[in-house]
């Protein structure tokens, strides 16, 4: 677990890591609006256990960068009240695996105050959820929890997989009038860097991005596993000529149905890839909607590549639990050779 947390980023001078981009997003948001605050366990002097908030406490003081008691439910629940009163809290959940204690307050308080009060109250807040495996974290520190927050409306959910998206999605999340879950890609924090203009422009919520065009198969994915999908697609293009279109969904709620359908109607073959367990992962919803809206275009059933319905194994999970390029390639080959 140590490696990802401490590894120094080998970053070119003008490049920013995902971690630095998240920090830049928070910092710029706090500069732009005095109502934005950051709250969580160890976010102050320690700068968060991943160091995503290093320096913010020194810059904005303990009034706006608040170390809390060890109480995830309390953190989210207090943020709900803060948001109702008029602040725009950013709260950090230390690891996605610890978010479940706050489940009621996210899905049934933050997500519902607007509706339950006939539009009178609202909860504009950002919940940062460091997620995903690949850090030898075992089943609590490697969770993909995004599927739990989709069953009814009221929250939005974003998942960046590039530094630029990390920065702009943070800004978008802070500015959004509704609660936003920011699913942060821990394994990319320090391993991925790129340059972008730190211009304060928020991402557009609800827009996917075609990362790799192709006409044979569509892969819909998000988060770190995106890079496995790209790798699989590239390799397969070389060896077999199969051209896979890879869509980085980016916005999970709402998701970009137009981009998905346009691609699907062109390729007729869809694979959804995610790190979360298979059953009732986001792939279930996307597969259902795709077959509903593009039934006549499909040459094969929509496929899912996902983790099995078991917890994330400490010792061998990073190797065998998450989808990797190899497993994705096999899925592509299978869907290409599907026959009725």
């Amino acid at each position: 677990m140590n490696k990802v947390m401490n590894k120094a980023a080998a970053t070119a001078a003008n490049e920013t890591t995902v971690l630095e981009a998240i920090k830049a997003g928070m910092s710029d948001a706090m500069d732009a609006d005095p109502d934005v605050i950051l709250m969580g366990e160890d976010v102050g002097l320690a700068g968060g256990i991943f160091r995503t908030s290093t320096g913010l406490h020194q810059r904005f003081g303990s009034r706006r960068v608040i170390d809390t008691p060890l109480d995830e439910k309390g953190i989210v629940a207090h943020a709900v009240g803060m948001a109702m009163y008029g602040l725009k809290p950013i709260v950090e959940i230390q690891f996605s695996g610890f978010i479940h204690d706050a489940f009621e307050h996210i899905m049934f308080c933050a997500a519902r105050y607007r509706w339950a009060s006939g539009g009178q109250y609202s909860c504009p807040m950002v919940i940062r959820v460091p997620s995903f495996g690949g850090i030898k974290g075992g089943f609590w520190h490697s969770q993909s929890v995004e599927a739990y927050f989709v069953h009814h409306g009221g929250v939005k959910m974003l998942c960046p997989s590039t530094p630029e998206d990390a920065y702009r999605m943070m800004l978008a999340a802070v500015q959004d009038p509704d609660p936003v879950l920011l699913i942060e890609p821990v394994p990319l924090y320090r391993s991925l860097s790129a340059s972008f203009e730190r211009d304060g422009k928020p991402a557009e919520i609800g827009k996917a991005r075609i990362v790799r065009p192709g006409n044979d198969v569509t892969i819909i994915t998000y988060g770190p596993v995106l890079y496995e999908a790209i790798k699989a697609a590239d390799e397969l293009a070389l060896t077999t000529g199969i051209e896979t279109e890879v869509i980085d969904l980016r916005s999970l709620i709402p998701y970009d149905i137009e981009t998905i359908l346009k691609s699907v109607k062109r390729t007729g073959r869809v694979i959804i890839v995610h790190e979360a367990p298979l059953s009732m992962g986001l792939g279930a919803e996307f597969a259902t909607v795709v077959q509903e809206k593009a039934f006549g275009y499909l040459h094969a059933p929509v496929q899912r590549v996902a983790a099995p319905d078991v917890p994330y194994h400490f010792s061998i999970g990073d190797d065998y639990y998450r989808p990797n390029a190899g497993l994705i390639q096999l899925a592509i080959e299978r869907i290409m050779s599907f026959e009725f």
Partner: protein, 395 residues
């Protein structure tokens, strides 16, 4: 104060934790460390000083308490006769929320539970709006979406309960922290029941409050029961107030049937909030009625337990106090009841004339801006409803 009929005939051998013979704890307030202003005869006990409240304010509170009682009487009847779906009684609990509300300014925020219509009335919400809420009609600012009595209104700085009891405690604490962060002078008060103290949210809120010292008063309305659960099953601490010690939060116990005492201790706690932080106040009172219209207290409590509370009726006590001060008399009392009943009848009539919300409104307010998915779902449902109605019309 009427207490609900209850047959104490059939022996309940497994009955829990009955004291030898029921005694109202307010009777020994001093010994029980329960702060009081007046006794059961409306006489000053000499414990807390008589609060300095302008007579018209005081009378307005009393009149509101009577109105609140009258609403409960009628609410129960409306429910039993099937005109509203559900009722949560508040008979006997008028002193806590009215006394506490009076201690706050209109700019202050109040977060309330489901037994506190007086908060709405004291803040000036029209009576008809309350009944619109009970009936789930358009006149309810919450658009008929919530169970009867689960009220609030942002225009009056009143936040409704979340319905999960206690879950709104950390929300309130968060609001108060936010006001402090923003540099606002706003004060906050939140009411919850004895049972709600068992939830993790109580722990979260009191703990954050101890550390961050926000201007919030937590009022635990200890009415003796959480549905069928008495204090001995709920917690082994002697009082709910002393739980504040575990969080370094100032705390005390007050006579919850003494509106003047409630006013006094809440006012003091409110006024010191921005300097000293939170206070936890346990208001000792009693749920005279059913838990809700779905309850049957005969299953778990004796009528005798209820009866000892009758002489401590918060309305009677405050009336006697006002009479002693020559601010009130029998004639005014009768006129007040007549007026309350008439106003309630008028409000019911107006509320029942209102429309129910339309299916289309279900989709509003999920987000500030509706997502494509909700737009699609809405269009789909409305089209289906229209088609079904068309077919129905053809029959």
């Amino acid at each position: 104060m009427k207490s609900p009929k209850s047959s104490a005939t059939d022996a309940k051998t497994t009955k829990r934790d009955q004291p030898p013979g029921p005694v109202c704890p307010l009777q020994n307030a001093a010994a029980n460390n329960i702060r009081q202003v007046i006794d059961d005869q409306g006489k000053l006990t000499g414990d807390l000083p008589e609060p300095d409240i302008a007579p018209e304010k005081l009378l307005h509170m009393y009149e509101t308490m009577v109105m609140v009682r009258a609403i409960d009487d009628r609410g129960w009847i409306l429910q039993r006769s099937g005109r509203i779906e559900f009722w949560i009684p508040h008979c006997g609990l008028e002193a806590v929320h009215n006394g506490a509300t009076l201690a706050y300014e209109d700019d202050d925020w109040i977060v309330m539970g489901y037994r506190h219509p007086g908060v709405m009335l004291l803040r000036g919400v029209p009576l008809v709006q309350l009944f619109a809420q009970f009936f789930g009609r358009d006149g309810d600012p919450f658009k008929g979406r919530r169970l009867p009595t689960l009220m609030g209104d942002r225009r009056y700085n009143i936040v409704p309960t979340t319905t999960q009891v206690g879950s709104y405690l950390p929300h309130t604490c968060g609001m108060a922290m936010a006001a402090k962060i923003k540099g606002d002078a706003t004060n906050f008060m939140v009411m919850f029941g004895d049972g709600s103290s068992s939830r993790g949210e109580f722990h979260s809120a009191l703990n954050f409050a101890g550390v961050h010292k926000p201007p919030v008063v937590f009022i635990c309305e200890n009415n003796g029961w959480a549905i069928s659960t008495p204090q001995s099953t709920q917690t082994a601490s002697a009082t709910y107030a002393e739980k504040g010690d575990a969080y370094g939060v100032r705390n005390l116990v007050v006579d919850g049937n003494d509106a003047l005492a409630v006013y006094s201790v809440v006012k003091e706690a409110r006024d010191m909030g921005h300097d000293e932080g939170a206070t936890l106040i346990e208001a000792v009172t009693y749920r005279m009625g059913y838990h809700t219209s779905s309850d049957n207290p005969d299953l778990y409590r004796e009528q005798a337990d209820v009866d000892v509370w009758v002489p401590w009726d918060p309305l009677t006590r405050l009336r006697k106090y006002l009479e002693r001060r020559k601010l009130w008399n029998k004639k005014k009392e009768d006129a007040l009841w007549t007026r309350c009943k008439a106003e309630i009848s008028a409000a019911i009539k107006a509320a029942e004339a209102m429309d129910f919300p339309t299916p289309a409104t279900m989709f509003d307010d999920t987000y500030e801006e509706q997502t494509w998915l909700l737009q699609e779902q809405k269009a789909h449902l409305l089209a289906d409803i229209a088609e079904l109605e068309r077919r129905e019309g053809q029959k």
